[in-house]
Symmetry: C2
Subunit: 227 residues, 2 copies
């Protein structure tokens, strides 16, 4: 069983921070620890990001929905992790996804103003934050510039890997088939052909309304990304 310190020091935005610095921080800063039980909503889709939210125990399911098509993408993120760090700042501070507890889970949240104080208190926090959000920005253009086959599989892989995290598991897409064909710009027959091939190769399991991704890494290979 990890101590709370160890858990916090493993969080992406607190990495490399000394234990002394961390205990100083915990004394000064209001750290809110919240408990959620299976299925409870942690973040409502399109709600405003006012706190930096960390998963400190258990698992969270992220649900991202296309605006104009009946397509939903799911992934699970496990502790230690951070939820949508690129929505605390920027043009919009509305989360483009919803988040639900997957089993019991614990969330640490820090208000934006307190988090800004943390960023200014030590270079390590600042570097972690700048690295995390720069990395998010870089991974999209990296994928886009790496495209090479124009295949349906590549297009699907681009969609999946762009909208999920490196540490995401249990990735699946639920869809209206017509809308999935629209997203990929193809006929129903090519869609079924591609899904059959991906299933034969062990990359996915699919039904008429759902694709289950076995391993995100396989899809990163399809888009030639080494993120």
């Amino acid at each position: 069983m990890n101590s709370m310190y160890e858990i916090l020091m493993d969080l992406p935005l607190f990495q490399g921070v000394s234990r002394d610095k961390l205990s100083e921080l915990i004394e000064k800063t209001p750290f809110h620890f919240l408990k959620y039980s299976n299925g409870q909503e942690i973040i409502a889709a399109n709600s405003n990001c006012t706190h930096m939210k960390f998963i400190i125990s258990g698992k969270v399911t992220i649900e991202t929905q296309c605006r104009n098509l009946k397509i939903k993408l799911y992934e699970n993120l496990s502790s230690p992790n951070v939820l949508g760090p690129d929505y605390l700042f920027g043009r919009t501070t509305a989360y483009p996804f919803a988040a639900y507890a997957n089993g019991d889970c614990g969330i640490l949240q820090i208000s934006k103003s307190d988090y800004i104080n943390i960023l200014q208190s030590d270079n390590v926090f600042l570097f972690n934050m700048l690295n995390v959000i720069s990395r998010n920005s870089q991974r999209y253009s990296d994928k886009l510039l790496s495209l090479s086959t124009g295949s349906v599989a590549e297009r699907l892989a681009f969609f999946i890997t762009s909208l999920t995290q490196r540490t995401g598991t249990g990735i699946k897409i639920s869809f209206k088939q017509k809308d999935m064909c629209t997203l990929l710009g193809i006929q129903r027959s090519s869609f079924i052909n591609t899904m059959n091939k991906l299933q034969e190769n062990g990359l996915i399991t699919f039904t008429m309304s759902e694709i289950e991704v076995h391993n995100r890494e396989d899809f990163l290979n399809i888009v030639h990304s080494n993120e």
Copy 2:
């Protein structure tokens, strides 16, 4: 003619800073002012980002190249602007583009360590930086989640608007036609059809190896983005 102060205060990362604060900064921090003449290389593709580079006069042409396809995307950025702010931190600090002076132009560069000191000296600098790179990260997922028609025009618009800036002008793509068809996942005939339609509607001018985008805004409308 704008004074140097006015130019600096218009830079995306210096906005909202007081004149006093800025003159204090200029005294303390090594600001390097560089002059380039037409066609001179400012940034080599894949070179390491070691400085924050600002355009303080004139115009810069950005050339972004696909890794696996013979496709190059060009855009012009004018003063006041910043070049690739999301590559100073993150997973990779290699610029994915080259930059050339388009006519005479002036660049201000600040080393990474000096820039970090600036970020820590005042909240305004820090907020500007966090806003600029968070925004870059958000604009990709926003476009991806807004897709709605799956058309070739939408796919082209996604490619163009994802890889260019809001203030980018003179956007064009030069390509080997086979590779452009691969990128878009279509046959030569659909490619020509779409290009003809876009040209008839006044959105582009195209030849067998080049597409000239008249107005980036038109392409944002195609992907339903209001970035």
